[in-house]
Subunit: 275 residues, 2 copies
């Protein structure tokens, strides 16, 4: 799966060449997809427990899932789904909104560094430092030279994470313009979903080509230290299956181990039974 | 349920008078308990979504579940179970370990205040500020006068939380001495669980009567602003059912409402369809 979904590093990216309804490597159809995803659960839970257990003996490794995509592409739904596999106590979830005044007074990576997973944890970012080269670029929220410099800063930041034992799995949820309209219309047509709707979403949507270009640049320029995976996102069942599979592959490669106990089991048993 | 499990406020508490295997108000048996707990899920998820939605329109209310209990009483298992009902993006989980050097340099409530749920969120504390009158008392980690003063500080703190819209649901997981031994033995007998075992647990267990007394004092002295609920914890299925039910009752009482949209639906629809 990793090879299938990985964006070729360092090459120009043309998002229009990728089908948002495709299901590369996936099960045949929704029912099979849901079953296959559910079947991944126990393995994922076991790997997470081993990762956490290893950290209690000094293993500093951890995993960070970074989710990016246009409005309604399913970042929130993915967080909810993915965490369903895991023990949430070992997960650190962070949704990044428009930066606060305090956050704006610091370098853009400041708030990101604060939210990183600790050793043994699985971190999930709903949006991330990439917003600082996405909306920031589209909306010219920083001087052009500063925006340009950020790509290199991100590469360096992700390289330092890798050196510190953080496996960064970056996923771009690739949604079509038409599917986004359908999802926004569904929010409008459901009073219980009005709180999720913001008329500003329509204005952002009008900038779709500029966002696509900004994503293409980010995917091209920031894949040296941690690759980008492009997940077709029009079909929710495929999105969930693909991301669960990516996580399973990365965690299996880390192959975390339960640490051996550093105590005398028989002696502890004896003391407990004597109490 | 609330009335059934609530520790009578301000009265001396005798924990030995409560049966740790009891199932007050609960379904008859494990199978019925599991089914009843699962049936609570959709209602809990709906209430959480409404709570979160309301916060986007300025509602400051939120809920904080505080879990306390002896080692192996099931605090971690409860976190995992409870969060299974909810959208984890709207939850803020914090496990409190022995305080760090930085935390020790601040008043004991400092680290607690930093971890509180934001408006609309559901917070879950695995251990809490009560450790500062539990292990701190049993192990004499602070001068006696300071320990005594903490009960009043906790009452004041919890009163201020209530005034700020935080519903605090405090649960004492009541485990028997015998059940704890069985659970510790099971950890010893399972190599994959050795990382969870600490020989120090045996020493803490030797102080069981002192811990019981410390709990009795905390339950008696700190129930004015937020009541304590005593949940028999020897049966995991009952524990999960009781806490899910407590949360459902408290959230239903808050009765959070989806905020109305502050935009023109027809106009937004028209603009979307024109794009």
């Amino acid at each position: 799966m990793r090879a299938l979904l990985r964006v070729p590093p360092g090459e120009p990216v043309d998002l229009t060449a990728y089908d948002t309804r495709a299901t590369p490597g996936g099960p045949k159809g929704k029912a099979a997809g849901l079953a296959a995803t559910a079947a991944l659960g126990p393995g994922l839970a076991g790997l997470q427990e081993r990762l956490y257990a290893a950290s209690t003996a000094g293993d500093r490794r951890r995993l960070l899932l970074v989710l990016q995509g246009m409005d309604t592409s399913g970042k929130g739904g993915t967080v909810k789904h993915v965490i369903g596999h895991f023990n949430p106590s070992g997960c650190r979830i962070q949704a990044f909104k428009a930066p606060t005044e305090e956050e704006r007074s610091h370098p853009f990576l400041w708030r990101i560094a604060k939210a990183l997973p600790r050793p043994g944890e699985i971190g999930i970012f709903d949006r991330s430092h990439y917003e600082d080269v996405l909306i920031a670029r589209v909306r010219s929220l920083a001087p052009a030279a500063e925006l340009e410099a950020r790509y290199g800063e991100i590469r360096e930041f992700e390289r330092s994470l890798a050196e510190d034992g953080v496996t960064v799995v970056k996923v771009f949820l690739h949604l079509s313009y038409e599917e986004q309209r359908d999802r926004l219309l569904e929010r409008l047509d459901t009073p219980e979903k009005h709180w999720k709707f913001n008329p500003g979403d329509i204005e952002e949507r009008a900038l779709w080509p500029a966002y696509r270009e900004a994503y293409e640049l980010a995917l091209e320029r920031c894949s040296s230290a941690a690759p980008w995976y492009l997940v077709p996102a029009d079909r929710k069942w495929y999105r969930n299956w693909a991301i669960s599979t990516l996580l399973a592959e990365h965690l299996a490669e880390l192959d975390p181990r339960y640490p051996p106990g550093d105590f005398d089991v028989a002696e502890c048993r004896r003391r407990l039974l004597a109490q």
